[in-house]
Subunit: 330 residues, 4 copies
Amino acid sequence: MIGAGRIGKVHAKNITMFVPELEIKAIADPYMNAETEAFARGLRIPVVTKDTDSILKDSEIEAVLICSSTDTHADFIIRAAEEGKHIFCEKPVDYDVRRVRQAIDAVKAAGVKLQVGFCRRFDHNHRAVYDMVRSGKVGKVNIVKISSRDPEPPPISYVKASGGIFCDMMIHDFDMARFLAGSEVEEVSAVGAVLVDPAIGQAGDVDTAVVTLRFESGAIGVIDNSRRAVYGYDQRVEVFGSEGAAVNANDVPNTAAFYGADGTVTGACYKVMWDRYTEAFVSEMRAFAEAVARDLETPVTGEDGLYPVLMAAAAKSLREHRPVRIAEVC
Amino acid sequence: MIGAGRIGKVHAKNITMFVPELEIKAIADPYMNAETEAFARGLRIPVVTKDTDSILKDSEIEAVLICSSTDTHADFIIRAAEEGKHIFCEKPVDYDVRRVRQAIDAVKAAGVKLQVGFCRRFDHNHRAVYDMVRSGKVGKVNIVKISSRDPEPPPISYVKASGGIFCDMMIHDFDMARFLAGSEVEEVSAVGAVLVDPAIGQAGDVDTAVVTLRFESGAIGVIDNSRRAVYGYDQRVEVFGSEGAAVNANDVPNTAAFYGADGTVTGACYKVMWDRYTEAFVSEMRAFAEAVARDLETPVTGEDGLYPVLMAAAAKSLREHRPVRIAEVC
Amino acid sequence: MIGAGRIGKVHAKNITMFVPELEIKAIADPYMNAETEAFARGLRIPVVTKDTDSILKDSEIEAVLICSSTDTHADFIIRAAEEGKHIFCEKPVDYDVRRVRQAIDAVKAAGVKLQVGFCRRFDHNHRAVYDMVRSGKVGKVNIVKISSRDPEPPPISYVKASGGIFCDMMIHDFDMARFLAGSEVEEVSAVGAVLVDPAIGQAGDVDTAVVTLRFESGAIGVIDNSRRAVYGYDQRVEVFGSEGAAVNANDVPNTAAFYGADGTVTGACYKVMWDRYTEAFVSEMRAFAEAVARDLETPVTGEDGLYPVLMAAAAKSLREHRPVRIAEVC
Amino acid sequence: MIGAGRIGKVHAKNITMFVPELEIKAIADPYMNAETEAFARGLRIPVVTKDTDSILKDSEIEAVLICSSTDTHADFIIRAAEEGKHIFCEKPVDYDVRRVRQAIDAVKAAGVKLQVGFCRRFDHNHRAVYDMVRSGKVGKVNIVKISSRDPEPPPISYVKASGGIFCDMMIHDFDMARFLAGSEVEEVSAVGAVLVDPAIGQAGDVDTAVVTLRFESGAIGVIDNSRRAVYGYDQRVEVFGSEGAAVNANDVPNTAAFYGADGTVTGACYKVMWDRYTEAFVSEMRAFAEAVARDLETPVTGEDGLYPVLMAAAAKSLREHRPVRIAEVC
C-alpha cells in the first residue's frame, strides 16, 4: 500500500478484517508518522516505511494499492505496471487526459490488472438499481437521474487544489451515470452557481451544479450536485426506461419513525461519508481481490477511470456557455 | 331520510352530489331546526319535516336512510320493513342482541334490503387489503391485526351513553376483523385500561383496549384501540397469511416530506374522521344505491350488523377476566 | 362557459357540485351536440347554445370560463374583457407571445380579473411543497427539480397540432418551476430525444426531454419529461435549499402493500390525469370564485400565463444547440 | 469461550474483528472437531480444547462466554462465578425458574458481572425506538406492540427440544416488551394455533401465537409470533404513548424500488437471522466489553434473563385458557 492517509487507512483496516484473500505486506508513505506507524503495527503489517520504492521493488508483492495524492497516481501506476504488479488506484487516475492514457497504456503493456476506486459502484443501493437495469427490468434506458449532495463543503484550501466540483465531486456521478446507462457519453452541458459559500466562488469554483448528458444510446442523463445538504449525504439515482424505473432512496441509520402531533419524523441521512459507504469500501476491495485471484477483468478498468475525467473536462461547458462534445476533449 | 344530525347531513350531501341514482324526497327529524331546514332546502330536498311517520307512509318513497339515535334504529327498521321500504341504517343496529334479531327478522319477512353503515369496509385502503385477501394473494389467513386510535376522546357525556369503548369504537374494528378474516369469531379476550383520561374510568369505561379473537377458521385476530392518538386518526390493518401479508398505512393529507437537519418530516394523520373517510361515505351510499337498483344483496347485511354487537357483548371478557365465547352471548 | 369539451365538462361538473359561489348560467360551444346538451341539462344549466356571442353579450353574466381550443383563447379573452367580464382561461393563453400580451393588455385595460388554468398549482402535494418553500423552511432555494411523465403519448394528430412537448406538456412544469422557485427564469437549455415512439420524431417533436433553467435568484432548475411512463402519471417536485429540501412523492390510489416472497409491492401511480388531479381542478375553481367574490388578485395571473410560453419559446435551445435567454424571446 | 457452535463462532469472529478490548485466549467445546479447530486457529485463538474445565480454572482468563446448549448454561454460570470470572451467557439462562435464580445468586455472591444474550436490544432499529421512549418523546407508554415472525420454522426435532414457541421464539419478544415498556409484566394471556405445519401441533406446540401483557405501569402489551413468514424476517416494534408513537420498520437489504406497470416493488426482508442482526451481535459484545472494562452494570442483567422465562412460564395461559399472573409462576 502506497499512501496511508484517511482512505488508505480505511482500505488497510477493511483488508485486514474482511478480505482474507489479501495480506498487506508493506505500507509506505513519504509522510509516515508515529500515529500511522502505530496503526500499521496494530494491523500486524510487517513493513512500515517512508520508501515507496521498496514496495515497488519487492518481488514478493503481487499488487499495490495506490492511495497517495492524485498528482502521484499516474506515475505510481506506470512504475508498478513496469514491475509487473496488479494495481488498485484511488480515483481519479489524473486530471490530465494524456497522463491517464499513459497510465492505461503502461498497464496494458505490462498485462497487469488495474482497478480504479469508484467505490459507489459497489454500494448496495446503487448496485441494486444497476442490477435491475442490466437484467432488462427497466427496458431501454431513457433517462438517468442522479442527485448527489455532500453534507458540508471541503475546506477552501482543498477546493483550490481539487480541480473543482466536476473533478472532485461530480466525477463519482459521471462514473455512476455511465455505469447505470450502459452507454458512453457524447456531450455534456453544465449549469452552475455559487449558492453555498461565496469563498468557493472566489476560489474560482461553483458549489451547485446541474449537468445534462447525451449518451450514445440516445438516452439523456442529468446530475445535480450541491456542496452542502443540511440533512446529510444525499445520494439517489434513478434509471427510467421503457418498462419502468429503478429508483433508490437514501440510506438512513435506522428505520424508526416518530408519529407526533406535528407529523411523522424519520432519521436524517448519514452525515459522514465513511458511514454511508462502509460496505462499499469493503466490497470494492473484495472485488479487486477476486479479480486478481481468479484472473478476471477488474470491475472498474482503466477506461472506466478515463471517461469520467473526459466528462469533467467537457464540463468546461459551464464556462463556455455551450454544450461540449466528449470528442472535443479526448 | 330519518335523522338529520351530523352523519345524516353527510349522507344527504353525498347523495345529492355523487349518487345520481338516489334522490332524496324527504328528510325528517323530530328535532328539525331552522339551520337543518336551510341545509335541506339548499340541497333541494322537497319535503322537510319533523314527522318521521310521513316518510314511512309515503308510498312514493322506495328506501329510507335511518340516521337517528341508536335507540331508535331497530324500531325504524321494523316499521320501514313493514312498509316495504329498503333500508340503510347507521351502525350499530342496537346494542341489544334480541332487538337486532327482531329487526333482521322483520327485514327478512318483508323481503326488503338492509345495509348497515359500517363505512370503513368502503375505505380505499382497507378495501385494497380486503381485495388482496379475497383474491388469494395472502393465502390462508393466519393473523388479522387492526390498530384503531382516535385523535380525541368524545365528551364524557357521550362516553356514558355510548355503551363503552367496545360498543362505540371497537365495533368498527370487530366488523373489519370479520370482513378481513372471512371467518366468524368464536371467542373474545379483552384487556383494557384507563390511560388517557381518568374521567373515562369514572364513567365506568376504559380508554385503551387490546382484544384478541379466535376465528372459526383457526386464525387469530388482535385489535388495539386508544381514545387518543396525538398524531391523529390511526387506522391500520394487516392480514398475515401463508403466502404473504397485506398491510396498509394511514392516509396523510399529502405526500410532501421535508428533509431537514433533524430528520425527514412527513405530515401527521388526518385529525378529523370526516376528512379521513370522505370517500368511504360516498362509496357506501353508491353501494346501497346499486344493491337497490340492481336487486343485489347489500354489501353489509343485517347479520353483518349483528355479529359485531355479539363481539362487543363478549368483550365482557374484560370485566370477567376470562376468554368469552360468542356462543355464550348469542 | 365557452367550450364544452372534456376539460369544460370537468369544470362544469365541479362548479355545480363543489363551488356554490359560482352558478353556471350558460354554456356555449360551436360544436354543441346532443350528448353535451344532455350533460348540461343534467347540471340544470339554463342556457345551452352554439352561440358564444350570446354569453359575451349577456349582461347578467359576471365571468366567463374559456375552455375552447387554444387558438381561440386570446380572442375570447379580449372580447370578454371588453364586455367587463372576469375570465378563467385554460392554459396556455396562446403560443404567440404577442397574442398573449394583447390579451393581458385587454384584461388590464378593462380592470377585470384573469386566471389561467395551471391546475397543478392547486394540487395538494405540490402545494405542500410550495408552502414549505414560502414559509422559509427550506431557506434560500438552490435547486428546483421536477419529474413529469405521462402514462401514454397523445395521438400523433394531437402531437402535430400541440406545438410540441414544450408547449403542450412541459408548459405545466415551466409554470411549476417558477411557482416553486419564487423567481423568474433567465435562461433555458434543452436536451431532447425520440425514445418513446419514432412517429413523434417524424412529426417533428421529441418525446423525452430534460431542460435546465437559470433563475434570476441564481437558483438552478431542472425538469425531465417523458411521454410514456408505464407505471402511470409520474409527477414529483423537489426544492432543495440552504435549510433542507421539500420533496413530494406520487399519489397512489391506496396505501396497501403486499409483503410477498419476492418483495413488497405497493400500487402503481394513477394512469389517468383526471384521477390524479381531481381535487386540483376543484381547488382552482374555488380559488377563482374567491378571487372574484372577494376582489382579490387571482392566484394565476395573465403574467403567470405569459412566462411559461416564453420558456417554451426559449426551448428552441434544443434545435439551436445552445442555451437561450428569455430576453431573446420576449 | 465455552461452546463453539453457530452462535459461538459468530461471537468469536466479531470479537476478533470488532472488539479490540476483548481477546479470546481459549475456546472449549466437548464436541470440538477439525473444522472448528481450523476456524479457531484462523482467528489466532491460542487454546483450542474439549476441556471446558481448563477455561474455568485458567487464572489468566477474566471472562467467559457461555455459548453451549441451554441445559448447561446455569451450571457453567455458577462455576464461572465461583471462579470469579465475568460472564456473558446466551439466552435463555434456563427454562427452570429455580435454576435461573440459583445462577443469579451465584453471580451476586461472587460479585462478578453477568450479561444475558438478548441481542435484539442492541439492534439499531429497536434501539432507536427504545431511545425515543426513554427520552420521553412518546410520553407515558400506553401500548407496546411487537410483531415477530421467522422466515421458516426450525426442524421438528428442535421444536420438540426447544420448550415450545414461548421459550424458544417469543422469549426474545418478552424481553423486548419489558425493555421498551420500562415496566414489569403482571399478567399474560396467550392465544395460539397450529397454522403453519401440523407436525408442530403433533409435537405439542403451536406455531402462531398472540400474547397480551398487562404491565405494572398500567400499559398493555401485545406480541404476535409466527413460525413462517414467506417474506422473511419480520421484526417490528411500536410503542404508543400519550405524546406519540415510536414505530420501526423492517430492515431490507437495499432501498431500491422498481416502478413497474403493476406497481412499485421493493425488496423483501432478510431471510437469514445472521444477516438481519449482524450489527446487533457486534454491539452486544462491545457493550459487554465496556461493562467489564469500565466496571459498569451490564445492559442485560441476570434479572433481565429471569423475567422473560417467567413470562414464558405464564404463557401456560394458552393451555389453561385463562389469564395467568406472573406472581403465580415466580
